[in-house]
């Protein structure tokens, strides 16, 4: 009978000794952390997307408290996080919301039939991409896969499209895209150009939707404030001059190829529910 109790007894002694040892160690080795780090970390979205330039949300929170980084670098957290962080740190920093925009609406002619690995990154290696347009979206959805917020989808024309209501402007898709067809634009401007082709009339040889830089949108009549300018056969918008989306709506109203597109929102959710129904 006594032998049975021997094992638990010794094990108890072992456990007790280690327990006391750890408790003492914990007392002496405790690291004091600024409580604000933890609070800010909770406010940040925790996606660890890296848009702020730090490896993780925790690292950014630490840098914020130590004053090594300014608030507003967290694109996913947006205004809510910015306001909260401003309050905690007693600062007043403002930033405007930016969203990703895919500057392509599809319609390019196929150069050849591609049957390889179905990613943009792999397909672009073969002859510079299977579509005849060297600027356009390939539509395999590398960005869809990488988007941590489920904001990108492949639309009915076979090209990627961003749902502005879900996009946080973290910019991961901009980096992933091998064609550099995605750009971050201020959400408030409302309209943007859905073409990336820098060719003039040659664009018509390979794409029916291509912008050939006619310059109607930049003309005096539709562009009285000088918001739009044609650079390299593409309209370029001066974001700082845009005061309302109506300016851009007017500029794009007479576009012969209808390349001006509204920055869409709520579409990803709708598409998803339709898929579920099917």
């Amino acid at each position: 009978m006594v032998e049975v109790l021997e094992g638990p007894l010794y094990l108890g002694i072992f456990g007790g000794v280690f327990g006391v040892f750890l408790a003492i160690a914990n007392y002496f080795l405790k690291v004091k952390e600024d409580p604000r780090v933890e609070i800010i970390e909770k406010i940040l979205p925790g996606a660890n997307c890296g848009a702020c330039g730090f490896a993780s949300c925790e690292a950014y929170a630490k840098a914020l408290v130590q004053g090594e980084a300014e608030p507003g670098r967290c694109a996913p957290g947006g205004e809510v996080a910015l306001k909260a962080i401003n309050k905690i740190l007693g600062l007043d920093v403002k930033v405007e919301k930016r969203v990703a925009f895919v500057k392509c609406q599809g319609g390019a002619v196929e150069k050849f039939r591609y049957r390889g690995i179905e990613t943009c990154e792999a397909s672009v290696i073969v002859g510079g991409g299977y579509i005849a347009c060297p600027y356009g979206c390939l539509g395999f959805g590398d960005c869809v896969e990488k988007c941590p917020f489920d904001a990108i989808f492949i639309n009915e024309n076979g090209v990627a499209e961003v749902d502005a209501s879900k996009c946080t402007g973290c910019g991961i898709c901009v980096e992933v895209c091998p064609r550099n067809v995605i750009e971050l634009v201020p959400a408030r401007i409302g309209y943007y150009i859905a073409c990336n082709s820098k060719d003039k009339l040659e664009v018509k040889k390979y794409c029916k939707n291509g912008c050939f830089g006619c310059g109607i949108c930049a003309s005096k009549k539709f562009n009285p404030e000088g918001v739009v300018e044609i650079v390299e056969n593409l309209p370029v918008i001066h974001f700082d001059k845009v005061s309302s989306p109506q300016q851009l709506e007017l500029a794009g109203s007479k576009c012969p190829v209808k390349v001006w597109k509204k920055i869409s929102s709520g579409k990803a959710e709708k598409l998803k529910s339709e898929k579920v129904k099917k």
Binding site: G7, Y10, L11, F14, F18, F21, L22, A25, V31, I117
Partner: protein, 191 residues
């Protein structure tokens, strides 16, 4: 010479992961990219080194003299777990960069059977103190080696065209099996 043989034996010939099939969980879990694999590998080397030294002392200075050998499994687990806790605290205080580098992998290793297996082998084979330490270094390096090979292959798998039924876990298990087969080729070179 004997020490060198123990090291090579533990690292390559009797590789813990690919010949003994110990610690398969982190082997498949953390081998998704090279960076993580390196972190995990070094954390394992580190913990193995310390726990081999401490468990050797516990076994030969406490368990054997007090006739408590039947407690060795539980005692070893206890020792390793509290040791990892302590090391974590120690690193957090004095070597923060290393603590951040090892990160989540350090506590995860507590439950890694490769560590317990290593300490038990050390007892069964009656290694002396120096041999035990070298053995643990070898075992840890073998673990790192296996993780590095696996993660390298998996990074390539990501960009290759795999038949649909094999995607994901399937191809990973097949790859691990092939790797183990290759390591079987070393069997018998050393005892």
């Amino acid at each position: 010479m004997n020490l060198l043989l123990i090291f090579i034996g533990a690292a390559i010939v009797n590789n813990f992961v690919l010949s003994y099939f110990l610690g398969l969980c982190p082997f498949l879990g953390v081998s998704t990219d090279l960076k993580k694999a390196t972190g995990m590998g070094f954390a394992v080397i580190f913990v193995m080194l310390i726990s081999s030294a401490v468990t050797w002392l516990i076994y030969y200075k406490i368990l054997l003299p007090f006739n408590l050998v039947y407690l060795q499994y539980v005692a070893f687990i206890l020792v390793i777990a509290s040791l990892v806790q302590f090391v974590e605290m120690f690193l957090k205080k004095f070597v923060p960069p290393l603590y951040r580098g090892l990160g989540i992998y350090l506590p995860l290793i507590t439950t890694n059977c490769a560590i317990l297996g290593m300490t038990l082998f050390m007892v069964i084979r009656k290694y002396n103190f120096v041999e035990s330490v070298v053995f643990s270094l070898g075992a840890g390096s073998g673990f790192l080696l296996a993780l590095l090979i696996m993660s390298g292959i998996r990074e390539r798998i990501n960009t290759s065209d795999i038949p649909r039924p094999f995607r994901g876990a399937g191809i990973t298990f097949i790859t691990a099996g092939c790797l183990a087969l290759i390591f079987m080729g070393f069997a018998g070179i050393l005892r």
